[in-house]
């Protein structure tokens, strides 16, 4: 049975915009993206929204729903009170392009700045041998669907545009951690460059990123904190630094 839903949608662009109220039919079991699509098809043909898979796997339909960074395809209308107005707004940490679509190019620039995977020079295709338990740590981070909700919620950049230059953000801390823990990656000093070049030190572990992650990746506990601990060890423990030099395998 269809019922009416009050939806408040931010409409506008970089120069101007505001919230618009619409009433739209909603059916049992629908998610917020479904009702946005219905608004688009019946009332606002030019309403801008990003989406792809509508199955929680591509991370395109990121927006803020009642002020919280969420995927619209994973947010059920039924999770709100009946009669409650649902407000949808674009991601706050990124510049608005139009309506619910923001310019997320910040993230792609940061991706380019993380040094790529570096396998051993003498490794031949098909010759790699790794234990399941050793690949699982990095596999957790490779579940990331790049929805950038963690980047949006992180208070280091959410209201501090000036920090963006020196801060890669949680998505790229797990990328660095993933490479650092990758059994075949040979590049040294990933943790230290995380600290010195990508702004790891600016994170003060409020775990907001972990809370919004739709893939339930333990960003803070499994990536950020272990890297921070090792950075502290490396930076301030001369004995460990010396031991590290003696080991053939990379350690930092």
């Amino acid at each position: 049975m269809a019922r009416k839903l009050n939806l408040r949608i931010w409409r506008g662009d970089a120069t101007d915009g505001g919230l618009k109220d619409v009433q739209v039919d909603v059916n049992e079991g629908e998610v917020v993206l479904d009702v946005i699509h219905r608004v688009q098809a019946t009332q606002m043909g030019d309403l801008a929204v990003r989406w792809n898979c509508k199955a929680g796997k591509c991370g395109s339909c990121s927006m803020e729903i009642n002020g919280k960074p969420r995927l619209a395809c994973m947010t059920q209308v039924a999770s709100f009170e009946e009669g409650e107005t649902i407000t949808v707004t674009p991601l706050r940490a990124f510049p608005v392009i139009k309506d619910l679509v923001t310019d997320v190019s910040f993230n792609y620039k940061k991706a380019m700045e993380i040094p790529a995977f570096a396998p051993p020079a003498d490794l031949k295709p098909g010759q790699a041998r790794m234990e399941q338990v050793d690949v699982e740590r990095s596999q957790e981070f490779r579940k990331c669907i790049e929805c950038f909700l963690c980047q949006d919620v992180c208070h280091v950049v959410r209201d501090h545009e000036e920090n963006k230059k020196s801060f890669a953000g949680p998505r790229f801390f797990i990328r660095i951690a993933e490479l650092d823990m990758h059994p075949l990656d040979m590049l040294k000093n990933r943790k230290r460059t995380a600290q010195e070049e990508h702004g790891l030190g600016m994170c003060n572990i409020t775990k907001c990123c972990t809370e919004v992650c739709p893939e339930h990746i333990k960003i803070t506990d499994n990536a950020i904190i272990p890297m921070k601990e090792r950075v502290v060890d490396i930076k301030y423990d001369p004995a460990r630094m010396f031991a590290g030099l003696l080991k053939r395998e990379k350690r930092s």
Partner: protein, 631 residues
């Protein structure tokens, strides 16, 4: 009317790759590593392609799980799966090269699940004789995309070191739609399109264009495809003078969710039925007992008591009919719905909650339970699902030369991945799509690189640009015309009801007429609002592509008077070895699609001899058997 000024941007590249899914990215890597300047164009953000949805794995006969596996076994399985309508050379290249393509990904940072010996783990899948699918849990497609996305970044970092600019030789143009592939003097000269964000237009000049745009699922009402699956590459190729081969072959999965809308089209894995899920109609009748074909009578239970006992004692009871092959189940569901015994949303009920406890469901089907609970509020431990056939994959596509992925008839045009035809014949095996896009993505990159060496210059004339720009402006100039959303919905109804999983001549005839009618009306689509990120405007172009795809499919389907793989004719239920010798070739004259028969290339002796003659007799005519191969 639009008021924005259209600033025309122009770029020159050696190779243009349209599509940034698995095939497009693999092609781009190959072309860049051959020393060329490459542009990758995607409709979405970089890394969001439909490839991320692939769960099962990538098929490659590495032999890690069973050392008896090799390319010949994989080749045989692929040909059987395609009911021998595959282009033998594509199936051969695919089987031979996929192991190398998987190992190569590992060198780029991919982390596949491991065997006890530390090798890449391989899992069983329908139609594959040995465990063959390299996988990462149930997110193998995401791993492929991310690995290649990061490989692209690695190449850009190398360019930065050498040339001082990340994007000097390899650039991703995200959220850009191509509306036309441009030719000059009969050869490829570039492509034209618009930025989705701003609506402003872009000209690319390039001697080689690789199409890697994926599938066509959005042509249908119920589909597992993402919004991008609008057949863009199929239509762009047709309009550029290329052919589409065997467009009648589409893979439908029998149990996709039909309700609620939030999960419409999403696959309900076969294991739900394997664990005891039963299918019932709106009268509460467990209808599958009525649909057991004679050839399966000795293997499937004809009464509920025996079917129920099978779950505890498989040695002394026949299997429940819910576990019949996919096409049988799909046909049964389709018949029930058409007879008026479907649910109000056009499906049937699939219920696993009555037979097993909530605890066991959550343990055995964790991702299914979680997905539907989280996305739709459907608790499969307590209630039935509403399911029906969902459009999953198109086997048909651009006709290509197997070794180079060059589109037949259009110098400079290449195609790889789902948009290319021939590889899978009439039906694709699970796991063969991810390996397909790696093998032929690379070959398309090589093919384009070789072509560019001989044809390095391309420039587009002003007249060509003007015509392409006029086409983009047209829907803005109309007022009070048709709404693209409603036309799309109408098209989806027609394809779903008349060109879907089970077809008849009369319904296909009706479909062809209705599609033509919608296409006529689509010429009058008007767009409200401006050019800036305007989905109504975007859909107007996607719609045009979907209409050409639907026309190609309906016209190929009405011509093929047999049932084979992903093409089932109720009025021609049998497989006909005479029809196996023919491909269907669809082409476009600017007005309409026409379809003709073309002889399917025959296997050479060394491939023919990989099969037992008794097996080939099921598919081939006595004359073909007697010939024993083409050389």
């Amino acid at each position: 009317m639009t008021t924005e000024k259209i600033a025309l941007e122009r770029y020159k590249y050696d190779v243009l790759v349209i599509g940034a899914g698995g095939a497009g990215l693999r092609a781009a890597v190959e072309a860049r590593e051959s020393g060329l300047r490459v542009a990758i164009i995607c409709k979405s953000l970089f890394g969001k392609a439909h490839t991320v949805m692939a769960e099962g794995g990538a098929a490659a006969s590495m032999g890690n799980a069973n050392s008896n596996d090799n390319w010949m076994v994989h080749f045989r399985d692929t040909m059987r799966g395609g009911k021998f309508l595959n282009h033998f050379r594509m199936a051969e290249l695919h089987a031979k090269e996929s192991p190398d393509r998987i190992w190569e990904l590992e060198m780029w940072g991919a982390l596949f699940d491991r065997t006890k010996e530390g090798k890449i783990s391989q899992r069983n899948f329908g139609g594959h004789e040995y465990p063959r699918l390299a996988h990462v849990g149930d997110r193998t497609g995401l791993e492929l995309i991310r690995t290649m996305q990061q490989k692209i970044v690695a190449l850009q970092q190398a360019d930065k070191r050498e040339h001082g600019d990340y994007e000097s030789h390899l650039k991703v143009y995200a959220e850009l739609t191509i509306t036309e592939i441009l030719k000059e003097g009969g050869k490829i000269a570039g492509a034209y399109g618009y930025w989705r964000e701003s609506g402003s237009e872009v000209l690319f000049e390039a001697p080689a264009v690789i199409i890697a745009t994926g599938g066509v699922g959005k042509t249908f009402k119920i589909t597992s495809n993402s919004w991008e699956g609008t057949g863009d590459g199929h239509a762009l190729a047709l309009k550029a003078g290329a052919n589409l081969v065997d467009m009648e072959f589409l893979q439908f999965h029998p149990t996709g969710m039909v309700w609620p809308p939030s999960v419409r089209g999403i696959l309900v894995t076969e294991s739900v039925r394997g664990e005891g899920g039963i299918l019932t109609n709106s009268n509460g009748e467990r209808f599958m007992f009525k649909y057991i074909p004679d050839v399966f009578k000795d293997k499937y239970a004809d009464n509920e008591e025996e079917a129920d006992r099978w779950y505890v004692d498989q040695d002394n009871n026949r299997r429940p009919p819910e576990l019949l092959p996919r096409d049988e189940v799909a046909r049964a569901i389709n018949t029930e719905v058409k007879a008026g015994r479907g649910t109000e949303h056009g499906g049937v009920f699939l219920d696993v909650s009555k037979r097993i406890s909530a605890e066991i469901i959550k343990k055995r089907l964790p991702s299914m339970w979680h997905q539907f609970y989280e996305l739709a509020g459907v608790d499969i431990t307590k209630e039935a699902m509403e399911v029906g056939p969902t459009c999953h994959y198109v086997m048909g596509g651009v006709e290509v030369e197997p070794d180079t992925a060059a589109a037949v008839g259009v110098p400079g045009l290449f195609a790889a991945g789902e948009v290319a035809g021939g590889m899978h014949g009439s039906n694709r095996l699970g796991g063969n799509s991810l390996s397909d896009l790696l093998v032929f993505g690379r070959r398309a990159g090589m093919g384009a690189a070789a072509y560019v060496k001989q044809n390095s210059n391309a420039s587009v004339s002003d007249a060509t640009v003007t015509a392409a720009a006029a086409r983009i402006e047209a829907p803005f100039a109309r007022s009070g015309g048709e709404n693209s959303y409603s036309l799309h919905a109408e098209l989806q109804e027609v394809t779903h009801n008349l060109v879907g999983i089970i077809r008849t001549g009369t319904e296909l005839k009706e479909a062809i007429e209705k599609i033509a009618e919608i296409r006529k009306r689509s010429a009058n689509v008007a767009v409200t609002g401006g050019r800036k990120f305007n989905p109504g405007f975007h859909l107007a172009f996607d719609l045009d592509n979907m209409l050409l795809v639907a026309e190609s499919t309906a016209k190929s389907a009405i011509s093929r008077e047999e049932s084979r793989g992903g093409h089932t004719r109720d009025d021609f239920p049998g497989m006909d070895s005479g029809w196996r010798q023919s491909n269907h070739i669809a082409s476009f004259d600017g007005n309409q699609v026409s379809v003709r028969k073309q002889a399917l290339p025959f296997m050479p002796k060394e491939l023919f001899d990989l099969f037992e003659v008794d097996e080939l007799k099921k598919y081939m005519t006595p004359e073909e058997i007697a010939k024993g191969g083409s050389n």
